[in-house]
């Protein structure tokens, strides 16, 4: 696996899809992400950045979720071709 393939969800470009590898972060954040379906193995797609650059809008499990980049750094993903 090359290094470029593994990244955080915050670094995905709009339209790019990735598979979630790991969810880290403080207990509350992690739990919240898990509950919202941000789980290892799920597919996440970057949709857009907010007009001011942050937060981001991602699609996961068929719905739209917004989160701050600082939170998306805790989601390790593997880019899909």
């Amino acid at each position: 696996m090359s290094k470029e393939e593994i990244d955080t969800a915050a670094h995905l470009a709009p339209g790019e899809k990735a598979s979630i590898v790991k969810v880290s972060g403080k207990a509350y954040l992690r739990r919240r992400l898990l509950d919202m379906g941000v789980l290892p193995g799920s597919i996440i797609q970057m949709i857009r950045h907010a007009p001011l650059g942050d937060p981001i809008d991602v699609k996961i499990k068929g719905y739209h979720l917004s989160l701050r980049k600082s939170e998306a750094y805790h989601i390790t993903v593997k880019r899909m071709k």
């Binding site: 919240r32 290892p40 950045h49 068929g62």
Partner: protein, 762 residues
């Protein structure tokens, strides 16, 4: 069914409370005793002249005959009551289903001890009375969020007969995640596929029979915003109650390894009879293994729980070794896996084509370039409409008030205390509350449009970067903006903010957003002491000052009081939907009515107090300098003297606590500006300019006027706002804190401006 007065009920009969007709005060008193509409009660005394004795929720209550006359009850006869808890994700259309089921038979209150709103309602089906409690909308049932803890505590302590779980049929995967947790309570579950029309039109087909078998629940289809399926849902509730009452629910199978650990914990828990009596043991075991802080602390506090805690720690460590990940992730993963398995077997077409329209809207509305202009445009349009539409009704209310005052005045002896009390105290007080009603109702109407359409989440999305910089949440933006109109609805609008830290900070800084009621004060003083050329700049500077102060204080609060990291932003962006008029009107009415009830009583009281202070002692004969209020003004003069204020300004500030418009009125009275027509600003402006101290110095200079306006901007906004702060924080402490710190801040700011200005020779 038969509705009678409680006083006419035969002894030893079970009845259901239908309505309290004795007015608000009585309703509140009885509500506090647990007498709520829909509550099952039993009368146990035999009729006599003595008190009526009731059994409510196992407790005995005695009330007077007079009260019993004002309570309408329904005889239940053979009737049965089903207690239902309504659970579901936010944006699942839960409240529209609730409204459809209960119609106007609703009651809004709070869950005991917390400020989470609790809605209850009643529906009837066949021989059953169905008492429905709307739980807070949640995605999960963890210990981290107040809403989630409230929801699960309700289920555990109130033990509803049935849980009705509303799910968004077009987004089953995430919505059923909550269902998997609800199944663990061991209470029969009815799953409602809401918005099934959207799912259907996207080509989604579900084998509901198979799914109902696999999940062990009843499944019903509804379209909440079109009021479809309510009857079927009620029938399903009754059917489930009859058929499934003693059957066990299916639970998620977490796999052999985890199930083994669950069993180990359950064996230990089952020894604790008193515990198992109250809590479903499987639920407890799962929560403990998941590391739920709330439940672990609860078990730890029990005597002899060491063995359980040891087992938990061992099990969690074991899970971590086997799965190479911690228990929390594994449990979430298994739940989603369970859902996926079921959906795979029972559903065809899982594509999210229902999002096409919504996604297209977001292409424009949340666009990087267009997003902000569109957002500002919508805000501008909303404010314009609110102020435009409320202008006429406000005038009508003022005119009606003037007519009524005039009419009542004529009936009473001129200059009498009675006339003063009724006309200035009571009618004036009621008027000052009513005049805000149109603007408040309109504000909430538009807020509901933003909320129900899904745009509110986009506002948070767009504004979050900026709001986060000042330590707040994207959702704090709307309340801040509303504050420029009126702080009362603005503070009520903070309910959309989930985290307590963010919410309380937003509440406490909100009064610095200069509301509409402060404008008359600015207009009066700017007109009197500043040239027309700079007047708009002076006015603008006040708004900016308020805003900067809000940002500054937000930072201070986040740094010293509400410390720690800010809550995660993680938030669903729901699909856009067209709001229904019924939903909008219900929302508007609920919030508006709350304002009238809460703020109304306080303002009324405040106006009467202020009036009394200005009317007494009688010997003052209308001379305010000799009245109590004048004496208070004189007494506080030393405190305001360093700000350059004389006793008249001090007095106006005291009366201004009730409402900011009153500052102008008081100045009018103090300067005797044409007796009753204190509304004429021009004569008052002249009087202000001409006023001098005995030594010939002018009482007002532009500098003093500016310090005065800054004080008005920053100190206690008004009694209604204070009342709403009390209501929304649920604490007298925060209310007094808000009063105290804002007044202190106002004093310091005015002091700096006045003394600083003098140093510069202004």
């Amino acid at each position: 069914m038969n509705r009678i007065r409680l006083s006419d009920v035969r002894p030893n009969t079970e009845i259901v409370l239908y309505k309290i007709v004795g007015g608000m005060g009585m309703e509140r008193k009885l509500t506090e005793m647990g007498l709520l509409p829909g509550e099952r009660i039993k009368r146990i005394d035999s009729p006599s002249d003595g008190p009526v004795v009731l059994v409510v929720k196992g407790a005995k209550i005695a009330i007077g005959q007079g009260m019993a006359d004002k309570i309408i009850v329904e005889e239940c006869g053979q009737k049965k009551i089903i207690k239902v808890a309504l659970a579901g994700n936010p944006n699942s259309g839960k409240s529209s289903v609730f409204n459809n089921l209960t119609g106007a038979r609703q009651h809004v209150g709070n869950y005991p001890g917390v400020t989470v709103e609790k809605k209850e309602g009643i529906a009837y089906c066949n021989d059953y009375t169905i008492k429905i409690t709307d739980l807070p909308g949640t995605y999960s049932l963890t210990a981290y969020s107040l809403d989630e803890v409230t929801a699960r505590n309700f289920i555990i302590h109130e033990k509803p007969d049935i849980i009705v779980n509303i799910v968004d049929a077009s987004n089953l995967e995430r919505n059923l995640y909550l269902s998997t947790q609800l199944m663990e309570f061991g209470i029969p579950l009815v799953i409602v596929f809401n918005m099934s029309d959207i799912a259907e039109s996207a080509g989604q087909q579900t084998d509901d029979k198979a799914m109902s078998e696999l999940l062990g629940v009843s499944i019903v289809y509804t379209v909440g915003n079109k009021d479809k399926g309510s009857k079927e849902l009620l029938e399903a509730i009754v059917r489930t109650h009859k058929e499934r009452a003693d059957k066990n629910n299916v639970s998620v199978n977490y796999g052999r390894e985890i199930e083994q650990e669950i069993s180990k914990v359950m064996v230990l828990l089952n020894r604790e009879i008193d515990l198992i009596d109250k809590y479903p043991s499987r639920w407890l075991a799962v929560k403990l293994l998941e590391g739920d802080k709330y439940i672990i602390d609860f078990i730890k506090a029990k005597q002899g729980s060491d063995e359980i805690i040891k087992q938990i720690e061992a099990s969690r460590a074991h899970i971590k070794i086997i799965f190479a990940d911690d228990a929390e992730t594994i449990f979430a993963d298994k739940r989603y896996g369970f859902i996926n398995g079921i959906l795979h077997e029972t559903m065809t077409q899982k594509k999210d084509s229902h999002l096409v329209v919504s996604d297209n809207i977001d292409q424009i509305v949340a666009n990087r370039i267009l997003g902000i202009p569109i957002f500002l445009g919508i805000m501008w349009l909303m404010f314009k409409s609110i102020f435009f539409l409320s202008e006429k009704p406000m005038q009508w209310i003022e005119q009606t008030q003037a007519l009524v005052s005039g009419f009542v005045s004529g009936l009473l002896p001129e200059g009498s205390l009675m006339q003063g009390l009724i006309v200035d105290g009571i009618i004036g007080g009621v008027g000052s509350v009513l005049v805000f009603v149109p603007i408040i109702f309109l504000l909430f109407f538009f807020m509901s449009i933003l909320e129900d359409s899904g745009y509110m989440a986009r506002i948070a999305f767009i504004a979050d970067k900026f709001m986060h910089k000042i330590g707040l949440h994207g959702r704090s933006f709307i309340p801040m903006l509303l504050g420029f109109g009126c702080n009362v609805p603005a503070i009520m609008a903070t309910r959309v903010i989930e985290s307590k830290k963010d919410r309380f900070t937003t509440i406490l800084i909100n009064p610095f957003m200069s509301c509409g009621a402060r404008l008359p004060v600015y207009t009066l003083l700017i007109g009197a002491f500043f040239s027309e050329k700079i007047s708009s700049n002076v006015l603008f500077s006040l708004y900016i000052l308020g805003f900067l102060m809000a940002i500054f204080m937000a930072k201070v609060f986040r740094r010293f009081i509400f410390t720690g990291e800010s809550a995660p932003f993680v938030m669903e962006l729901p699909p856009y939907r067209i709001p229904t008029l019924k939903g909008l009107i219900i929302h508007m009415w609920e919030r508006g009515w709350l304002y009238i009830k809460k703020a109304g009583t306080v303002i009324m009281l405040g106006c009467i107090v202020i009036w009394s202070l200005s009317a007494f002692p009688v010997s003052a004969k209308g001379d305010l300098t000799k009245s109590y209020i004048g004496k208070i003004g004189k007494a506080i003069e030393p405190a305001v003297r360093p700000l350059g204020f004389d006793w008249k300004i001090g007095t106006a500030l005291v009366t201004g606590v009730v409402a900011k418009e009153i500052v102008v009125g008081t100045m009018g009275v103090l300067y005797g500006a044409g007796e009753r027509d204190s509304g004429n600003p021009f004569s008052l402006r002249g009087a202000l300019r001409k006023d001098v101290y005995p030594d010939g110095r002018p009482v007002f200079t532009p500098l003093i006027a500016y310090a005065f306006m800054v004080f008005v901007l920053l100190y206690i906004p008004c009694l209604s706002t204070v009342a709403v702060i009390k209501k929304e924080t649920g604490s007298w402490g925060w209310m007094f804190f808000s009063i105290g710190y804002s007044t202190a801040l106002a004093w310091v700011a005015a002091f700096v401006i006045y003394q600083g200005g003098r140093l510069f020779g202004l």
